[in-house]
Symmetry: none
Subunit: 224 residues, 2 copies
Amino acid sequence: MSRVLVVDDDVQLLRALRISLRAAGYEVVTAPDGTTALREAATAHPDLIVLDLGLPDLDGTEVLAGLRPWFTGPVLVLSARADSQDKVAALDAGADDYVTKPFDMAELLARLRAAVRRGAAEPGEAVITTDHFTVDLAAKQVTVDGVAVRLTPTEWALLSELVRSPGRLVGQKQLLQSVWGPAYERETNYLRVYLAQLRRKLEPDPAHPRHLHTEPGMGYRFTP
Amino acid sequence: MSRVLVVDDDVQLLRALRISLRAAGYEVVTAPDGTTALREAATAHPDLIVLDLGLPDLDGTEVLAGLRPWFTGPVLVLSARADSQDKVAALDAGADDYVTKPFDMAELLARLRAAVRRGAAEPGEAVITTDHFTVDLAAKQVTVDGVAVRLTPTEWALLSELVRSPGRLVGQKQLLQSVWGPAYERETNYLRVYLAQLRRKLEPDPAHPRHLHTEPGMGYRFTP
DNA sequence: GGTGGTCTTGACGCGTTCCTGACGCCCGGC
DNA sequence: GCCGGGCGTCAGGAACGCGTCAAGACCACC
């Protein structure tokens, strides 16, 4: 199911939200302030975000501004302020919905469902391009020199995990964990086999990769 | 410029909405009741719809139910009822947002902007055409080489779910969930059976499909 | 009560994918 | 020069997923 990042500094509310969202079938990640929220949003790959505007460190709109350039999923804003000026500001800053506290949990869940449903119909413009191939994360399609290339589910899971952090080094533990599961953290040979297949399918010269680089002993890096 | 269909029986409110929306740069079409709304939605091709729930002839959720099978743009619901049960019902019936009357016009406009921004990438065309067949989502009609083809309800539900995202891969979980319900997530054999039937009815060479492709282990893809 | 159409369910063959182990290479440390 | 760790490559066998077919269950309508 979908993963949701909940950002709020109220511990009580956070607990209530976590319980309700879990019960509704979501996987829940939480953050107590704005800086953690931005970090978690980048690493945990949430599908949607519930964001409280009243945070201790950053203003809510600042968090939105930091999120929006790259985060394409829905963001639902929570706030104690019912003033319509605040609503307009948040919505124009990139929020998809605005709910005032105190709120009804059933309504919040319904609004989340609506946001996810709508987000599923949207491409998201999450296309990564290099000189030799392009990766469309939303359509799950890879094209090399314009022609579509078929990837197996495992190959796709590995590639998408890599291209989601362009230029950044992704540790082998993280790759193994997100593709095969936490029990496979040591099976680094899996990575060798599948990286080789990816390079064979995507790189112009698989022996001298230009985009899927190996960092010996650490992990792999995708460079556009 | 986007075209918006406003559905409301209150003449005063209708006039106020028309003026504000025009000023905000929208092209405005109006309907005073549910049946006109459904007809206008099909003929005027609006990009988004503002729908009052309290209509003289039809219940608001009925209008939504008539709209949603084929209308892919955002629908913003207006209502005098602030009860959260009503909100949940409308949102789950396919509404993208729910605003209670009396409302602030600036907030409404901001919510419309947010809805349009999200759906901006997809125009929401109701007729999909390929080399060999055409699918009319609004009329629920499929024609192969000009002649109409009869589809069973299940076949239709599956096909419409696929053609709604052209070029995009649709996961088997999502297909099963939206056609048969959440309890059937694992019954992948249903997909095999019905995809075969669809290919038999639509593809020129069912053994080598040109438009209804299988992505083993992941899902299916419709390519125009 | 019969009949036609639709949906479900199971079985089979086939191709593909995944896992696994073995081998050779490179490179830094001893 | 020897050694060990990490990496890339390759090939087989097991397991899985897909397409196909057919028979039974279910339902609405006549």
